[in-house]
Amino acid sequence: MLDATTAQPTGLPQRPGVGYKPQHYQDILEDPGSVAWLEIHAENYMGDGGRPLAQLRHLAERFPISVHGVGLSIGGEGPLDAEHLARLRHLVGWLNPASFSEHLAWSTHDSHYLNDLLPLPYTEVTLARVAEHVDQVQDSVGRRMLLENPSTYLAFAETEMSEIEFLTGIARRTGCGLLLDVNNVFVSATNQQSDPESYIDAFPMDLVGEIHLGGHDADTDDQGAPLLIDSHARPVVDPVWALYGRTIARAGALPTLIEWDNDVPDWPTLRAEAGLAADVLDHRVGVTA
C-alpha cells in the first residue's frame, strides 16, 4: 500500500473543471472561461492513434488533465482485467495526468463488460477484495488514486456497514484518496431515503481530492417513492448546489468537475455551469452550513 502520510492531494487546481467532449475542442482552447482543468474517460483514449490522442496531447499542453476510469471494475468479484490495467498504466505513463480516479463499482464479469457502474454490498469480504484491487491498481499505475462514491438505486440485504465506513476503510488500508460526487450523494440518499446533509457532514473531507457535480433524471419506484437516476444529461439541480456549498464550507476549496456526458450542451452552456461552481469556490455562494 501507499503511505498515506506522504500521499499528496492531486495536482489539479482547486478550481472548476469539465468532462472533456471532442465537440468542444476548439471552443475550450479559445474561451475556457473559468474552466481550469479537464477530465477524460480513460477508455476513450486507449486507441493506437488518430484524432482522440492528438487532441488530448494538445489539450494537455494547456490544461491539467484528470484521467477518470470507468471500466476497471474495481468492485468485481473476479480478478482485475490485466490487459485493461496495462492499457491504463500506458495511458497514465505517457500522459502523466494531474490525477487518476476510478469508481467504487463493478462492470465486468467473466470477461463480459456491461458498461454500467454496478453496485456491491458493503461487507468485510467485499472491503477486503476492493482494497486488494485498489492496491493492485496503485502499484500498477504507480500513483495514488481517488475512489468515487457511487449512485445507487437499490441496497443489498447482506450489507454490514455504511458506505462512508466502507470508503474510509478502503482509504485507510490502501492509502488511496476519495472522489466525492455530490450529485451521487443526493441521488443515493434520495433513493435510499437517508439524509444527504448528514452524509456530507460525516464524510472524511481530509481524504477528498476532487468533487464531481452532475445532473440526474427523476422517476419513481414500484411503490411510488422517488427514484433518481444519475444520467449526466442535464444541469446540476439546486439541492445539489446547496450540498456542494455545504461541502466546500466544510472542506475548503477543492477541484470541482461538472459532468455532462449525455445530451451534451453547447460550450457556452457548459462553461456557464462551471462558472456556477467558480462562484461557490470564490464567494462561498450558497453556503448554508
Binding site: 492513434g49 470507468v70 492499457r87 463493478w106 464479469h109 453496485p119 419506484d221 414500484d222
Partner: protein, 271 residues
C-alpha cells in the same frame, strides 16, 4: 437465437459465495426474476430499482452500436436498429471496456439474423463501417509521396516493398458497398448493382473510403501481403491504371515506407 456464454441463473450467491453471477444473468435477461436480497429502503424487493441497471446496460450499449454503425442505422431505420442491437448485445456483450472496439461481430451477426436475410449487402456494409472505425483509431504514421517512389530506379522499385499505413483496410464485396455507403452518408447517387472493393485509409484524422478498380484491388492486396512492387504489378494485370492508383494512395496517405530488398521473402534495409 443462441444464448451468450453466461453463468447459470441461481440464488443470490453462487456456490463460491459470489453475488455477481446471478446479477449479470438477470441484467441481460429481461424475463429473469430480480435476484433475491436486492432491496429498496423499505426492505421490499428491488423491482423497478433493478430495472434501472438493466436499462442503463442495454440503452448505453445500443447507443454505442448506433455510433459505430451509422450507415446500418440509416439503412434499417431507428426502430429496427435498436431492436436488432438489443438482440446483438445479448448474444455479444462487449469483451472490453474499450467500446471503440465494440461491434466487431456485427457482420457475422447480420449474416445469421433472419429478419435481415433479404438485405444481403448489410454484412459487408457493416464490415466497411468496422474498417472505418478501426482506421479512425489506428496508429499515426508519416506518409511518403510519389516523389519518394520516383527517386528509385525502376529495377530497384520493382524489387521494393511498399509499407502501408496502420489505418489501411481493404474491404471486398459482391455488393456496391461504397455506393450504398455514399448514398446514405454523403448524399451519393442511387447505387447500381456491382461488386466493389474499397480502400479505407486515414488522411489526417478522418477515416475515408476510396473505390478500387479490380486491378488496383489486386495490386494493393499484394502490397498488403508484403509482396514486392513488381510482383504486385503482375498480380494486378494489364487493366491496372497505376498512375491513378498512386494518386489515390498519395491522397489517402496510405503509403508510409519503401523497403528495398532483392526478393520477396528476404529482409532488407529500410530507406
Amino acid at each position: 437465437m443462441t444464448s451468450p456464454d453466461l453463468p447459470p441463473k441461481s440464488g443470490p450467491l453462487s456456490a463460491a459465495g459470489q453475488r455477481q453471477p446471478g446479477f449479470v444473468a438477470a441484467l441481460l435477461d429481461p424475463d429473469a426474476a430480480v435476484p433475491p436480497g436486492l432491496i429498496g429502503p423499505d426492505g421490499r424487493p428491488a423491482g423497478k430499482r433493478f430495472d434501472v441497471y438493466r436499462n442503463n446496460v442495454t440503452v448505453s450499449l445500443i447507443d454505442a452500436l448506433e455510433q459505430s454503425f451509422p450507415c446500418i442505422f440509416k439503412l434499417v431505420g431507428e426502430e429496427f436498429f435498436r431492436a436488432m442491437a438489443r438482440e446483438f448485445l445479448r448474444i455479444h456483450p462487449p469483451k472490453s471496456p474499450r467500446l471503440a472496439t465494440y461491434g466487431d461481430e456485427m457482420p457475422g451477426f447480420l449474416e445469421r439474423f433472419p429478419p435481415v436475410a433479404h438485405l444481403g449487402y448489410l454484412p459487408d456494409v457493416a464490415r466497411l463501417e468496422n474498417a472505418l472505425r478501426a482506421a479512425y483509431h489506428a496508429a499515426d504514421a508519416a506518409p511518403i509521396d510519389t516523389d519518394a517512389l520516383g527517386a528509385l530506379p525502376p529495377e530497384r522499385l520493382m524489387a521494393a516493398r511498399i509499407g502501408l499505413a496502420p489505418a489501411v483496410r481493404i474491404v471486398a464485396s459482391d455488393w456496391p458497398i461504397l455506393a450504398i455507403w455514399r448514398a446514405n452518408m454523403a448524399d451519393g447517387p442511387k447505387p447500381q448493382m456491382q461488386a466493389e472493393t474499397v480502400l479505407v485509409a486515414r488522411p489526417g484524422y478522418d477515416a475515408r473510403p476510396y473505390p478500387l478498380a479490380p486491378g488496383a484491388a489486386r495490386f494493393l492486396q499484394a502490397l498488403a501481403e508484403g509482396r514486392s512492387f513488381g510482383v504486385a504489378l503482375e498480380a494486378a494485370g494489364p487493366e491496372l491504371d497505376l498512375t491513378a492508383l498512386l494518386q489515390t494512395l498519395v491522397d489517402a496517405q496510405a503509403m508510409t515506407s519503401i523497403t528495398e530488398g532483392t526478393d520477396d521473402a528476404g529482409t532488407s534495409d529500410r530507406l
